[in-house]
């Protein structure tokens, strides 16, 4: 859900040539509400997490010892492996499919039909995270699933078999794609709309078919949007918590309670009473998110908007 909000914040702001007028208190007033919330619930907790990760529960400075401790924990490597496996599958699927669907909706379909499909794709995203997991619990349980024939044909004849450890990344990708992709299809569609018609006509005159146009003109021109999607999807993916946690409960413990790093941090804090270790895990997640975002920003020249 955080995705939607941040998207709204960044989406406008492309008014070239209009000189920005400085001053005016109203501007500060408008920003103030967000800034206060950001400080209280974004910046302060981050700083506090850094403080916790560098100390122990007696408040003594521990240097990197907390980080060493959590890396050596037997659950650390499995949890991060699970998360990375999930992220790779989820990002590849998301980027390929959303761009493909957006291109098809934009170029190969009547506007009315396209609008209907965009609405349908977006719909599951309107369900809150927990509700969407519950929908999937029904889908995945052969006893009640409307597609139990499909599960049966895959040799999965009980809920326990569906939730075998090897299947979990696939299941979580399915849930994430189902809830998250629709919103991104709408965004990509909007990005494609921004490409001037003259450019596409020129491509056509030069003999480019629809697929060539997509590959050589449209996709390169929405590159920064794709990178933007990848950054936010990556950040959301590293924070995977609700889905595996609910699967863990619903499967009566067959899914590890520390499947994802966020769950590991949760167990550190609330079962072992080790808030410092939990903070160290969360700092690792922050670092991974920042590194990935940095790489994507640089490779896609995202901040070169003004020069084009």
């Amino acid at each position: 859900m955080t995705l939607l909000e941040s998207r709204r914040v960044t989406a406008p702001a492309r008014r070239r040539g209009v000189s920005r007028r400085r001053g005016g208190r109203a501007g500060y007033l408008f920003v103030a509400g967000y800034a206060v919330l950001l400080l209280a619930f974004g910046v302060f907790p981050t700083v506090y997490a850094f403080y916790l990760s560098l100390t122990n529960d007696r408040g003594q400075f521990t240097g990197v010892n907390q980080f060493v401790k959590v890396i050596q924990d037997y659950r650390f490597v499995p949890a991060f492996t699970d998360m990375l496996l999930y992220l790779v599958m989820w990002l590849v699927l998301l980027v390929v499919l959303t761009v493909l669907v957006a291109v098809v909706l934009r170029g190969r379909m009547r506007p009315g039909l396209s609008a209907l499909f965009r609405f349908l794709f977006y719909l599951p995203g309107a369900l809150a995270g927990v509700a969407s997991v519950l929908v999937w619990l029904f889908m995945l349980d052969p006893d009640v699933s409307p597609v139990s024939w499909l599960l049966d044909s895959l040799g999965l004849n009980s809920f326990a078999a569906v939730l075998a450890p090897g299947n979990l990344p696939v299941i979580l990708v399915l849930i994430a794609f189902w809830t998250g992709a629709g919103g991104w299809i709408v965004v990509m569609y909007g990005a494609l709309n921004n490409i001037p018609d003259e450019v596409l006509e020129a491509a056509k005159m030069d003999g480019a078919g629809p697929w060539k146009t997509a590959w050589h003109i449209q996709i390169p021109m929405i590159r920064t949007w794709i990178a933007y999607m990848a950054i936010l999807a990556f950040a959301a993916g590293t924070q995977l918590f609700v889905e595996p946690q609910l699967l863990q409960t619903a499967s009566l413990g067959r899914v590890s309670p520390t499947w994802s790093p966020n769950q590991l941090a949760y167990v550190f804090a609330f079962q072992q009473g080790d808030f410092n270790g939990a903070a160290a895990v969360s700092v690792f997640l922050l670092a991974i998110g920042l590194i990935a975002a940095g790489l994507l920003v640089r490779r896609s020249d995202m901040f070169k908007v003004d020069e084009t």
Partner: protein, 462 residues
């Protein structure tokens, strides 16, 4: 906005700077000899005398209960209108939930919010609640033997049932019920098939094989639930969770006491007379509930499994005494859960809180009609004397229940982590994937050892 070059240049410079900073910090760390990252061990101070907070005999007491016990708390409220109570329903730590522990961790940090009286269906809750969650905190559970509950009352709890509540020589909870494992069987089906009820595990195995041949589809047990290990491996006296010292856990699943059970179950699993699907798993009641011939399980199986879940008609189900092994002199059985009541050490009305917890666990008024078998011996007698508790069964379950209550093996210790996690997340998926139980024992042992070490136990596997 037009100064396009400088931000990018700055961006390029930062990684180098960060690297230098990180290097500097780590160098500092090594030089300064930093403090240990592990949380403080519980100090000896926790065993010093209990000092209650300022008491107020009129204070409202907040009670956290699960939905099963809710009517009992409401009944107390009705019969004691003078006591101001705030009743809250929560999950009662069922199915490995850590809600209570999570909340208490947070209350300990904010310094307020603790409930006064809490029900928990997990004995694991008593272990962490009897130790401080952080330096300077006092344990959540009040030591009830220090002037709150008379020793004569504590002495009347069933043998060993308060072990789960004890730490450092003090008693931190009152046991609500015990869940001694007995052999449940469907008398109607057994008579119809012409089988006699087994008394030893060897007979049980032979009967399971016979059932597989003569009546395929019928079951003599299931290993697929989150607590099946307590029904089978605890009964087998398998040293999986054996606290030889308060801080040293012995887990030795290669012991013959474990493999005799895993081999027996492997035979019956491959014969399909023991299911790897849990009794409580989705769809089991509908598909196989009427085909359960026997079930080695806790005393609450009668009402909760056969009556509520399987909807087996009254007059069919009976209970037999725990099974023994050929050549074993001492009988032993397992224990599956069993709830407990704790009083908060932060309570401002300890008197009312303790009175409630005592009434709930020991009074005939409450326990004689409780849904589970009382841990308090006089109340258990009243429970057994109550015809409502027995009319569902085909024969009198009293002697089997009483005998099993005295035979619960004490070598399966109560640890700070749940014995269900490793079983559910390591063993059960392996069984579902078709592996044998015996071949999964090493992985189970490794998972137990890992969990124990993470909780600060020393681990021995001898």
């Amino acid at each position: 906005m037009r100064t396009t070059t400088s931000p990018r240049a700055a961006f390029r410079r930062t990684p180098a700077r960060t690297a230098v900073a990180v290097l500097a910090v780590s160098a500092l760390t090594t030089l300064a000899g930093c403090a240990s990252a592990s949380p403080a061990a519980p100090t000896a101070a926790s065993s010093s005398a209990f000092k209650p907070v300022t008491q107020n005999p009129n204070a409202t007491i907040t009670v956290w209960t699960d939905s099963t016990r809710l009517p009992e708390v409401q009944a107390y409220q009705k019969s004691h209108p003078g006591v101001k109570m705030n009743i809250v329903t929560y999950d009662g730590s069922a199915d490995g939930s850590t809600y209570l522990q999570t909340k208490v961790q947070l209350f300990d940090r904010t310094g307020s919010g603790w409930p006064d009286v809490v029900f928990s269906s997990s004995t694991t809750d008593a272990t962490w609640a009897s130790e401080p969650t952080k330096p300077g905190a006092i344990p959540f559970a009040a030591p009830l033997d220090q002037g709150l509950v008379p020793q004569s009352t504590l002495d009347n709890f069933a043998k060993g049932s308060l072990t789960a509540c004890q730490y450092n020589g003090h008693t931190y909870c009152l046991r609500n019920d015990i869940a001694q494992v007995v052999l449940w069987y469907n008398k109607t089906l057994m008579d119809q098939f012409g089988y006699t009820v087994p008394t030893t595990w060897e007979q049980y195995e032979a009967l399971g094989q016979k059932v597989a041949k003569q009546h395929p589809g019928y079951l003599v047990g299931s290993v697929g639930d989150t607590n099946s290990q307590e029904s089978y491996f605890w009964s087998s006296q398998c040293p999986a969770f054996d606290l030889v010292q308060p801080d040293t856990l012995r887990t030795d699943l290669s012991s013959p006491d474990c493999t005799r059970m895993s081999n027996l179950l492997d035979t019956l699993i491959s014969d399909k007379s023991v299911s790897t699907q849990g009794f409580f798993s989705q769809g089991f009641a509908k598909d196989s509930g009427s085909k359960v011939l026997m079930a080695n399980g806790p005393s609450w199986y009668g009402q909760y499994l056969f009556n509520s879940a399987f909807k087996t008609p009254a007059g069919q189900i009976a209970a037999a005494a725990p099974l023994t092994w050929d050549g074993d002199t001492t009988a032993a059985t397992g224990n599956v859960g069993g709830g407990l009541w704790m009083v908060s050490s932060h309570s401002t009305n300890l008197k009312a809180a303790t009175a409630l917890a005592t009434w709930l666990t020991t009074s005939d008024a409450n326990q004689a009609s409780a849904p589970t078998y009382p841990a308090y011996v006089p109340a258990a007698d009243a429970w057994l004397a109550n015809p409502a508790n027995k009319q569902y069964f085909a024969s009198d379950v009293s002697s089997a229940f009483k005998q099993a209550a005295n035979e619960v093996w004490t070598g399966w210790s109560n640890t700070k982590f749940s014995d269900a996690t490793a079983w559910s997340s390591v063993v059960l998926p392996a069984l579902t994937a078709g592996k044998t139980l015996t071949s999964t024992l090493p992985a189970w042992q490794a998972a137990i050892a890992d969990e124990a070490k993470a909780e600060g136990y020393k681990v021995t596997t001898q």
